[in-house]
């Protein structure tokens, strides 16, 4: 996979450039809102990608609870982090669009509000990941991820109904508003480009998470003592050197050296 990485980066860049061209030059200017409407080509694809990423987080969390696989936990973490980033973009582009067009920053419109709640749920997931300690972090976060995603349809339902009861101006294009086919093309190209970018970022973050795990495991192996480190096949030659030079271990109150425990002589 690593060999494809540069190629993947190029593809992503190409897609993003072409998508930019589509959004800024090819797509027609919107009749009522003017060029500001072009922000929509960023707003909508980011929303879709964010949702897809949170769904990925949901599946990865379930898989983690079933199989306790480190890789699925790494994927869950990566997809949540990148998802929150994309979600943030949605929440920023929404008001940026609303302000020039309608003169207001925020109206608690259904879609934007749902996205805000989604953002809050996954930020709380990231907070839990940061504040939980030890091995339980992964299990607890996976549980929270399941709660969060199960909540998503309920969030949408409740906010939609609320808005029908108390209508407000709609920012991100109403339900019935159709799109010129050339606009759809721009949306789809941007979707492709940002999906590619998301996959790229997730790939990087995933690799980083696995590397961090590997470092922790190496430290943990080292704590077992040089002979155990050698047995686990992960030593770097330093273990043998340690065995020869017995140096005192600075860890805790145990005055023992990190080499093999002293053999008790028969009494």
């Amino acid at each position: 996979m690593k060999r494809f990485f540069p190629f993947f980066v190029l593809v992503t860049l190409a897609l993003l450039c072409y998508a930019f061209y589509q959004a800024m030059y090819v797509a027609p200017t919107e009749s009522t809102m003017g060029d500001v409407q072009r922000i929509f080509y960023y707003h909508l694809p980011h929303a879709w990608v964010a949702f897809l990423l949170f769904f990925t987080n949901f599946l990865a969390s379930i898989w983690y609870l079933v199989r306790r696989s480190e890789r699925s936990d790494a994927l869950a973490l990566a997809s949540a982090e990148v998802g929150v980033v994309f979600c943030t973009v949605v929440l920023i582009t929404g008001p940026l669009w609303a302000r020039p067009v309608w003169g207001i920053w925020w109206t608690w419109d259904a879609r934007l509000t749902s996205t805000l709640v989604l953002w809050l749920i996954y930020v709380s997931y990231l907070v839990l990941r940061r504040f939980a300690t030890g091995a339980q972090t992964q299990v607890l976060s996976a549980a929270l991820a399941i709660f969060g995603f199960v909540d998503v349809p309920i969030v949408y339902l409740s906010i939609r109904y609320f808005r029908t009861q108390h209508p407000q101006p709609v920012i991100a294009g109403g339900e019935g508003s159709g799109l010129d086919p050339r606009m759809w093309t721009a949306v789809l190209w941007n979707l492709a480009g940002f999906l590619s970018l998301a996959l790229l970022l997730i790939w990087l973050r995933y690799r980083l998470a696995l590397a961090e795990n590997a470092v922790e495991e190496a430290h943990a192996n080292r704590a077992l003592g040089p002979e155990a480190e050698m047995r686990s096949g992960k030593s770097d030659g330093r273990a043998e050197a340690e065995m020869r030079v017995t140096k005192p271990d600075g860890r805790g109150s145990a005055p023992q050296s990190s080499s093999a425990p002293k053999v008790g002589k028969p009494r």
Binding site: L65, V117, S124, V127, T133, A143, F147, D151, I159, Y161
Partner: protein, 224 residues
């Protein structure tokens, strides 16, 4: 012992503990009272306005009181590490969850029963819609807060900054339920709309999350 039998015993034990450690409950009651008073100072509406905003105020006040209660009931299990004694026994983890959830429900309901008359007095509230609907909203809504709250409290007490973690992870997920509770209460108080959709939503929320909690609690309580 069956799941329900253990749950009943644990609930009985918890209620006895609440009763004996009355100072904890009393401080919660006082906190609830303070919340009501402070809100009343902050918003001084006319009778008509009060019906519109009371729904939101009341439920936010209940939410804060609930968070204090939820943290307390799990903190008791951590004192003397007595939760270990439960975990080494063959008793099923789900019984512990049910007992704690029902116990919290009772405790939070008591708080609500004490706070409501105060709100009625301070805001001169009179409901236009039928009162039994308000009761229904209260029951479904309280369970929605308590079921997730009990679960997340069990998670958050094992993290750093344990007390603040509970609201951080509970509030976002509870937003749809809160929306339902607030809007339903406002609809009934003002008599302007039927709370039926909201009641259905709350029922679905309660069902879905009770199931998820029961399914995942064992995994979570035994995660070290």
């Amino acid at each position: 012992m069956t799941v329900m039998a253990v749950a009943r015993r644990t609930l009985a034990k918890d209620l006895r503990l609440e009763w004996r450690a009355k100072d904890a409950v009393n401080s919660m009651l006082f906190f609830a009272l303070l919340v009501v008073v402070i809100f009343s100072f902050s918003f001084d509406p006319t009778a008509e306005e009060s019906r519109r905003i009371a729904g939101g105020l009341v439920w936010v006040a209940f939410l804060f009181a609930a968070v204090v209660a939820l943290n307390q009931t799990w903190a008791r299990e951590l004192r003397n590490q007595v939760l270990d004694a439960y975990r080494v026994s063959p008793a099923p983890a789900v019984s512990l969850f049910l007992a704690k959830a029902v116990g919290n429900f009772i405790l939070v309901s008591v708080l609500e029963l004490l706070m409501t008359p105060l709100f009625v007095i301070f805001y001169n509230l009179r409901s236009v819609g039928p009162v039994y609907q308000l009761l229904l909203i209260a029951v479904l809504g309280t369970w929605a807060l308590v079921v997730n709250g009990t679960f997340f409290a069990a998670i958050s007490i094992r993290t750093r900054s344990r007390e603040i973690m509970l609201p951080l992870i509970l509030f976002p997920i509870s937003i749809p339920a809160l929306l339902a509770m607030v809007d339903a209460t406002t609809s009934v108080l003002t008599g302007e709309a039927s709370p039926r959709f909201w009641l259905q939503l709350l029922a679905v929320y309660d069902l879905v999350f009770t199931t998820v909690c029961v399914a995942l609690f064992d995994t979570v309580i035994n995660a070290e």
